[in-house]
Symmetry: C2
C-alpha cells in the first residue's frame, strides 16, 4: 500500500473520532529518532487510544512483531490503550486488541473472516 | 523560521520527554482537514501535555490568536494541558501557560525578558 493511501486511511479515522467529539492527530513518525509512535493518537477526557491504522484490499493484514512491540511500548509510556485499526474494502473499520492478533510465527495477522472478533467504531468508543 | 528548523525544535523537545520516561510524538498536522493539532503531544501515565513548540533567534515570540485558540480547543477535547514551549537562542526551553502570554491586541507574545515567568523543563514535568 502506498504512503498516500495509508495517510488517507488515517485521515478517515481522524474524522470519525472528531465526529463523536474526541480529539485525534496523526503522528509525524519518529523519523530518524527511533522512538515508537502510533499512526493515530485519539483521546477524550477519559480515554486515550494509540492506533496502528491500515487499509487493505486483501483479505488479511500482517503486522511485524516490531510494529506491535512499538505500539505497546508507546502505549505503556503514554498511558494509552493500544489498538489495531483495519479498513478492509467495503467494510467498516474494525478495531482489534493487539493481543488478539494471530501469530504466524514470523509476524502477526488479522483475517477478514475473523471480522466478528473485532470491535466496531461504536463499540470501541462506547466503552468508558 | 523555516519548517525544517521548526521540526528540529520539535525533535529536540521529544528527546527531552523520552529522556525522562515520558512518551512524545510530533503531530503530522491536520493538513487539509481543519482539525486543531498541537506541534507535540507528550504524556505519561498521569499527565498529558499538548505543546505549541517554537524556536527563535529573536528576543520575543508571537502567536496568532487562532493558534492559541486551537491549542486550547484541542487540549480541551483530548483532556490535555495546553502549553507553549519556546527555545530562545542559547537559553533552555521555557514553558508558558497560554493564559500567561501577553496580548498585543492583534496577537499574543512572550518576551525573552520575562523568561523567569515561565517554567523550566524540570519544573514543567515535576508537577504531578
Amino acid at each position: 500500500m502506498s504512503k498516500i493511501k495509508g495517510s488517507n486511511a488515517e485521515r478517515e479515522l481522524i474524522r470519525l473520532f472528531w465526529g463523536i467529539g474526541w480529539a485525534a492527530i496523526r503522528s509525524a513518525g519518529s523519523g530518524s529518532m527511533h522512538y515508537p509512535s502510533p499512526d493515530v493518537l485519539a483521546g477524550n477526557k477519559i480515554r486515550r487510544l494509540a492506533l496502528e491504522a491500515k487499509a487493505t484490499k486483501d483479505d488479511k493484514k500482517y503486522f511485524s512483531m516490531e510494529d506491535i512491540a512499538q505500539l505497546k511500548n508507546f502505549s505503556n509510556y503514554f498511558g494509552a490503550e493500544p489498538w489495531i485499526a483495519i479498513k478492509f474494502d467495503r467494510k467498516d473499520w474494525v478495531f482489534i486488541n493487539p493481543d488478539d492478533l494471530k501469530s504466524t510465527g514470523e509476524n502477526f495477522a488479522f483475517y477478514l473472516k475473523d471480522l466478528e472478533n473485532g470491535l466496531s467504531f461504536e463499540e470501541l468508543t462506547s466503552v468508558s
